[in-house]
Symmetry: C2
Amino acid sequence: MADRIIKVGLLGLGTVGGGVARLLLEQRDLLTQRLGARLELARAVDLDAKLAAELDLPAGVFSTDAGAVLDDPAIDIVVELIGGLKPAKDFALRAIGNGKHVATANKALLANHGAEIFAAARHKRVGVAFEASVAGGIPLIKALREGLAANRVTRVLGILNGTCNYILSRMTSEGAEFGAVLKDAQKLGYAEADPTFDVEGIDTAHKLAIVAALVSGQHPRLSDIPTQGISQLTPLDIQLAREFGYRIKLLALCRQQDGLCEARVHPALVPQSHLMASVEGPFNAVHLTGDWVDEVMLYGRGAGRRPTASAVAADLMDLARDILCGCGGRVPGLGVAGDGGQPLELAPLERVSCQYYFRFTAQDQPGVLAAISRVLGEHRISIEAVIQKGRQDQGAVPIVMLTHEAREADVQKALAVIDHLPVIAEPTMLIRKA
Amino acid sequence: MADRIIKVGLLGLGTVGGGVARLLLEQRDLLTQRLGARLELARAVDLDAKLAAELDLPAGVFSTDAGAVLDDPAIDIVVELIGGLKPAKDFALRAIGNGKHVATANKALLANHGAEIFAAARHKRVGVAFEASVAGGIPLIKALREGLAANRVTRVLGILNGTCNYILSRMTSEGAEFGAVLKDAQKLGYAEADPTFDVEGIDTAHKLAIVAALVSGQHPRLSDIPTQGISQLTPLDIQLAREFGYRIKLLALCRQQDGLCEARVHPALVPQSHLMASVEGPFNAVHLTGDWVDEVMLYGRGAGRRPTASAVAADLMDLARDILCGCGGRVPGLGVAGDGGQPLELAPLERVSCQYYFRFTAQDQPGVLAAISRVLGEHRISIEAVIQKGRQDQGAVPIVMLTHEAREADVQKALAVIDHLPVIAEPTMLIRKA
């Protein structure tokens, strides 16, 4: 069987694509030994010919023509690593249409067009693998889709963006401002020149869309996922949260209960004793709760050339095993037979219930605490703990509260009232508890 | 396809077997939806008929005759959950011989007879799945065999025995003695009436044998794994280790480097900042290092009816997908095509190099530290840190050292000399660093 060759065509030779090319060359013997067949890098395509030279590709492998991969009948598996929606979507559908299996790390593609791509793959009985699309090297998709296949997953907490976690870790350890740490992260290569996609939570929302789809068996609409990033967080909030016993992490949250599914991305309080609070720097982690398995946490590198290439290559091994068995698409896209169907209806944010951290900025005068508390009480929000700090420079003081579980709709109404009180100097900072 | 039925025969209705039976009944619709076929509990066998009544099995499912599962041509998958070597081994081989796929949680069976069982399965082209054999509900086997299939795994650190971790956690948080906590653990059901198997590291060694086989692609001999448990640990060592910045955990360690493979079970110092140090109570965790993925950690419940049933059921889903595709044994036992072959040669303990914690118990008199240090120096062991405590009741004092990396062979020779010095009152306590 080791004579059998599975031909891989690679689209995109950037950070991840270059990593996959090198992995297939450097780990060739190991992969052959495990697979009992050869996984051959038959063709690698990029518009930039310099990349091919840097990667030391074997003669004849490099091409600038995507068609040389997509339309060559000899190619068994297409690896889409160009990212973005265009032309990635067309390429993926063309590969599938030509009966090829596809591996991709493209979370934007799957978050936006997963239903269409999986349906096409089902129709052609080919596999679409996407381990590298969420949490980099961590075998999360496999754990969700196969390892926990006997569970209804009731809750997911994910630290899915290394840039944000790196920035928050440094803001926490150094008491530094967001802007200053971001600049440093950019210098060190942990953040892009335009960091919006990462720091505003959009990348995390793409990944959460994929996770929510796997958990529920239906594709959510990306626009239904409430998404808030970390750019508004201050060292003061991080410090005050710590005084209550919490760390602040940018979380992807998904909850499934009583037929309702919630999915949202925002900074969240995580108890210091929870393992997720100890996930530092650029690392990712996902904490899952299943109805049979109880808690599972997976931790590792969520980005980077080598860890992401490891995930893509695991997909290639899976797809190759399917090809050798003659059973393409053995595990369906969402792990559900005949998946797709209706989009997932997510509960709107107003229906969420959780505990809240509020930081009010108030004039330092008598009766302020009473005024705030009264409004909260009128909206069925009860207070678990309060910290009131001494006067700041401008005569305004922070009053910080941790609430008992409350409803988001009530909270939004209460804050609208409170932020119009004459004693309130600035809009209130709200952070939800995980 | 949902009309297709995969028939499961269950051997053993104890804690785990009963859990699997209940899971197959309670999660039936979910499993059917995911699989696109029915996973039917066709027969469940135990010598104790009372168990069947407690589990509320459907009529006609229970039997006291293993042959009703092993020899019935209608049964597709046999789940072996009786544990131990006899008759589990014969049952597994008989099921395989009859062309049935097998799922098992039996670590003792695989650690002792894995090579024979996997060879038989390869010959008959059936699958043997064993996710539940190591780390309970954590999808570790799948991560190692598939998720990290493109990696050479260079290091594994495992907390694989919940009983030991529970006892050590309480010894650490309460400063309590081993014996007292063990008694309490027995009362609470975290430890067996005869705890030897757990607290002496034997259970962990069985699991490590399986992990080392997956990492290397060859089966080790169980007797080649140096194994030491936690019964000799004292609250004093836990306290002193903490002063050096470490927690003590019972670890399964596996290292692969330069063609040498090490596997050993013993209490080990884990830096307090390492995530593994925060794994508390009955939880398990495995920290893996791969040459491409870098670090991955998996965490969850390593035992218990529901988490273990979750792992067995994931195996059943995998085997059922293989059956539906007509590709039995799609992933070979050790994830290596044509695995088996020569047993794995483990490096003997004497060849290990690591850092060491020594607690010497010495007479409180001048020159002791000099005498110890001289012997260590003569054996190429250099000291990183020393703590010398005040005099104890009996006139003996503990002198505690943390060494730089040293060779086990040198360490054993040095301790043999030191423990014969007239100033040394008790045998020296040695704990290796992870």
